[in-house]
Amino acid sequence: MPLATESMVLNMGPHHPSTHGVLRFILRTDGEVIHHCRPDIGYLHRGLEKIAEKVSYAHFMPYTDRLDYLAAMNCNLGYAITVERAAGIEVPPRAEYIRVLVAELNRIISHLISVGTFAMDMGAVTPFTHSLREREWVNDLFEELCGSRLTYNYVRFGGVALDLPDGFLQRLSRFLDYFEPRLRQYNRFISKNKIFKERLVGVAVISPKDALDYKLVGPNLRASGIDWDLRRDEPYSVYGELDFDVPVGGGAEMGELGDCYSRYWIRIREMEQSVRILRQCMEKIPDGSHWNRSKKKLKIEPGEFYVRTEAPRGELGFYLVSKGGLKPHRLKIMTGSFSAMSIVEKVGSGLMVADLVALIASLDVVAPEVDR
C-alpha cells in the first residue's frame, strides 16, 4: 500500500515569538516546507483613520506616534509635513534641521531594533541586547529632548515643540563617536558570521519586478536593486542640502539581489549614512526660532494632498482630504509594512518554516503599522 501523506495546517501567531507584535500566518506545510502561506492581519487595528476624522489636526499628532512605535519621530514628521503643505505653514530653518536630526536618530534606532531582532530570530540573542544597549543611549537623548522615550509627540506644525537643550549636540556627537565603531563590531559579530550568511543568502529572493508590483518601499525596495530614496530623489525638509549615499542591493558584499541578506545589509549601511547626515546636521544647524507658532486654530482650505516621506520602513504616505474646517475629511495612511506584508503570501510559499521567519524579519514588518 502506498503511503498517503497530507499537508498540515500550522497556525503561526498571533502570539509567536518571531511575529513581532501580533501577526498571524496560516501555513499549509508538508513537513517543514510551506506550500501556502496566508497572512492574517488586523489584530492591532485601532481605527486610526477613523479617529483622524473625529479629532482636530493638531490632536491627531500623538496618534501618529502609535502608528509605528519604533519610529515615532518619522511618523510625526510625515504627518506634520502633510499638514504644513496643505495649510501652507512655513518652517524656520533651525526647526528643519532639528527635524532631520531627530528623524535620522530615530532611523538609526529603528534599524538597530530591526537588525537586533533579525539576529534573534536567527537564534543569536546577543546582538539584540547589544543593539538595545545602543538604543538606550538614543532614548536617553530623546528623553532629554522631549521628555519621552518611545512616543515622542515632538514635531509640531511649523516647527518642533522644544528647542535643543544645552549641550545636546555635544552629547549627540559623543554618541556618534561611540556608535560608529560599534557598527563595525556588529559586522564582525553577526553580519559576517558564516552561519548567519548561510541562513540568509539566496533565501526569499524578491525580484525587482515583484518589488515594484507589490509596492515594496524603503530598504526592502532598495535591496531588490531599485535605486530610489525619497530623501534624495524628492527631497523634503532640508535633505536637499545634505550629502549622503543611498545604499542599493547587489554588488560584492551583498548576497543575491533581493534576498534576505541584502535587506539586512541595506539597513546596516543606512545606519552609516544616517550617522553621516547627523554629523552634517550638527555642523550646519543655524540659530533662530524653533517653532513658527500660530495662535489661531488650524483650518485647511478644501483640497487633496498626498505627501510621502521616507520613514525607516520606507515611504510613509498621508492622503489628506480636506473639505474645510477643523478636522480632516479623510486621512489615509499608507505604510511600508502594509505592502511588505502583502508580498509575504507570494514569496513565502515554497520556503521552509525557518526561512519564513527570516523573510518576516528581513522585511522589518511592524504590526501596528500594518493594521493602523
Partner: protein
C-alpha cells in the same frame, strides 16, 4: 563501586552480618543518591552559569539577587517550578505526556554511572563504558519524540521530529570520533582510556596525533548537536517553533527537561575530557620525587615536551590575565582605593581565584614530600581524590564554558543545513580520522 562493596564486606563486621547482597544494595542506593544529587546540583549550577555567561556576553549582569552573587537563584527557580501548577493539555496523550520528561532525565542520570571523578572515584568502571554512554545518550531522543508526540501540538510535533532526525544523524559522527580514541587505547573502559593518556599534555588524544585532534572537534560539534544546544538547537528553536517539544509542559516536568539538558552539558564535557583531554590527569606529569635539586631540575624540566606545550598554550591566557590585572591595579593605585574597594577585588574576582589556585598548588607541591613520609592517609586523600577531582572538574568546566559561550554567540542553522553538516562533512571526516588514526598507529609502532 565493586571495590567499595568488597572492602566494606571484608572489613566491616556489620556488613558481614547482613550478607554480601544487602551490602551491595546499600552501597548501590548510597551511590545512586550521591549521583542523583550531584546531577541535580550540576544542572542547577549550570542554569546559574548559563545565565551568568549570557549576562557577560549580552552586556548585562545576570542573576545577582538571590544569595551571594545570585548563586541561590537556581534553588529559588527549583522551588518555583515545583510549586507551580502542572498543566496537562486535555487532548494530550496523558500517560506518555507524564512519562516523557522522566525518560529524558533517566537517560542523563544513567550516563553519570560511568563518568569518572578521579582514579578511584567512579560508580562503575564498565568495560563497555563508552558504548554504554552512547546507548544512554539515545534515551534522549525517545524522550523528546514522545514529548513532542504526546503534547498533541503541531509545534511540539515538529520539534520532536526535528530532534529525532538530528540526534539519530549526529550519533554517527559522535561514535566515529570516540571510536578513534577506542582504536588507540584498545579499551572502552573510561578509566583505562584516561590511564592511556598518562604522562603529560602531549599524550592527551587532543594533541597526540593530528587525526585525534580532528576527532576532538568532530566529537565536540556532534555532541553539542546531540544535546540540542545552539547552533544546533532546532528542536526547540524559539523563534521558529516557539518552544519546540516542551511547548505544552509546565512546572516541574518542564524543569525536568531543563535539568536533563543542563546535566547533558556536564556529560558531554566529561566525555570530552575523558577521551581527549586526559581526564583527571594533570597536564604535567610531575613526579616531584624525581626532580632532585632545583637547579638540575630546571634544565630537565624545560626540555620536556609537556612543559613546553603548556607554556605555549598558557602564554595567551596568562598574558591576557596579567594585562587585566595590571590595568586594574593601575586603576586602583591612581584612585588610591583600599583593598576591598579596589577594582582588582570587586570586578576581577577570577584573578583572585586564580591566585588562590596557584597558592594552593604551590603549597601542595611544597608539602608533597613531608606528607608522603609522615601522613600517608592525608597524602592519598589529596593526591588520589581531591586533586584529580578538581583537575577533572576544571577541565569539564572549561569545555562547558565553550558550550555555553556558543549558545549566546552563534545563530542557529536551518534544518537542511544541519543535516548537511552532519552527512556531508562530519561523517566523512569521522571516517577519515578513523582510517588516519589507524595509519598513524601503524607508522608510530
Amino acid at each position: 563501586m565493586e571495590n567499595l562493596v568488597s572492602d566494606l564486606f571484608n572489613k566491616v563486621s556489620f556488613f558481614q552480618q547482613i550478607g554480601y547482597v544487602p551490602t551491595a544494595a546499600v552501597v548501590m542506593l548510597a551511590c545512586g543518591l550521591v549521583v542523583l544529587n550531584f546531577f541535580g546540583l550540576m544542572s542547577g549550577l549550570y542554569t546559574y552559569l548559563e545565565r551568568k555567561v549570557a549576562g557577560w556576553t549580552n552586556s548585562r549582569r545576570g542573576p545577582n539577587r538571590v544569595g551571594p552573587y545570585g548563586l541561590m537563584q537556581f534553588m529559588a527557580d527549583g522551588v518555583k517550578l515545583i510549586l507551580k501548577e502542572d498543566i496537562i493539555p486535555a487532548a494530550a496523550d496523558k500517560s506518555i505526556f507524564k512519562f516523557a520528561p522522566y525518560l529524558l532525565l533517566l537517560g542523563t542520570a544513567l550516563s553519570f554511572v560511568v563518568i569518572p571523578f578521579g582514579p578511584k572515584w567512579i560508580i562503575s568502571d564498565l568495560n563497555v563504558g563508552v558504548l554504554y554512554l552512547l546507548a544512554t545518550g539515545s534515551f534522549t531522543v525517545i524522550g523528546l519524540i514522545l514529548a513532542g508526540w504526546a503534547s498533541n501540538n503541531k509545534w511540539a510535533l515538529l520539534g520532536g521530529m526535528r530532534s529525532a532526525a538530528q540526534i539519530v544523524s549526529y550519533e554517527i559522527p559522535n561514535a566515529l570520533a570516540i571510536l578513534v580514541v577506542v582504536l588507540s587505547t584498545g579499551t572502552m573502559s573510561m578509566q583505562s582510556i584516561i590511564r592511556a593518556q598518562a604522562g603529560g599534555l602531549h599524550h592527551w588524544y587532543l594533541f597526540s596525533s593530528p587525526f585525534s585532534f580532528l576527532a576532538f572537534f568532530i566529537y565536540f560539534v556532534s555532541a553539542i548537536a546531540e544535546i540540542n544546544r545552539v547552533p544546533f538547537d532546532i528542536p526547540e528553536a524559539e523563534s521558529e517553533l516557539v518552544a519546540g517539544y516542551n511547548i505544552e509542559y509546565s512546572a516541574m516536568r518542564f524543569g525536568a527537561f531543563f535539568a536533563a539538558e543542563f546535566g547533558n552539558i556536564y556529560v558531554i564535557s566529561a566525555v570530552a575530557v575523558t577521551c581527549f583531554l586526559g581526564g583527571w590527569q594533570l597536564p604535567l606529569s610531575v613526579d616531584v620525587g624525581e626532580l632532585g635539586p632545583i637547579g638540575a631540575a630546571f634544565g630537565h624540566f624545560l626540555s620536556r615536551p609537556d612543559v613546553l606545550m603548556l607554556l605555549l598554550l598558557g602564554a595567551v591566557p596568562a598574558t591576557f590575565f596579567a594585562w587585566k590585572a595590571l590595568r586594574a591595579f593601575i586603576w586602583d593605585v591612581r584612585r588610591k582605593r583600599n583593598f576591598f574597594g579596589s577594582r582588582f577585588v570587586r570586578f576581577h574576582s577570577e584573578l583572585l581565584v586564580l591566585g588562590l589556585l596557584f597558592a594552593a598548588g604551590g603549597l601542595t607541591l611544597a608539602l608533597h614530600l613531608p606528607l608522603r613520609a609522615y601522613l600517608p592517609a592525608v597524602y592519598r586523600l589529596i593526591f588520589e581524590y581531591i586533586v584529580p577531582f578538581l583537575v577533572f572538574f576544571t577541565k569539564a568546566m572549561v569545555v562547558s564554558f565553550v558550550v555555553l559561550w556558543w549558545r549566546w554567540t552563534l545563530p542557529r542553522l536551518r534544518v537542511d543545513q544541519l543535516m548537511g553538516v552532519c552527512w556531508k562533512y562530519l561523517i566523512p571526516l569521522g571516517f577519515f580520522c578513523l582510517v588516519g588514526q589507524g595509519f598513524w598507529m601503524w607508522l608510530s609502532s
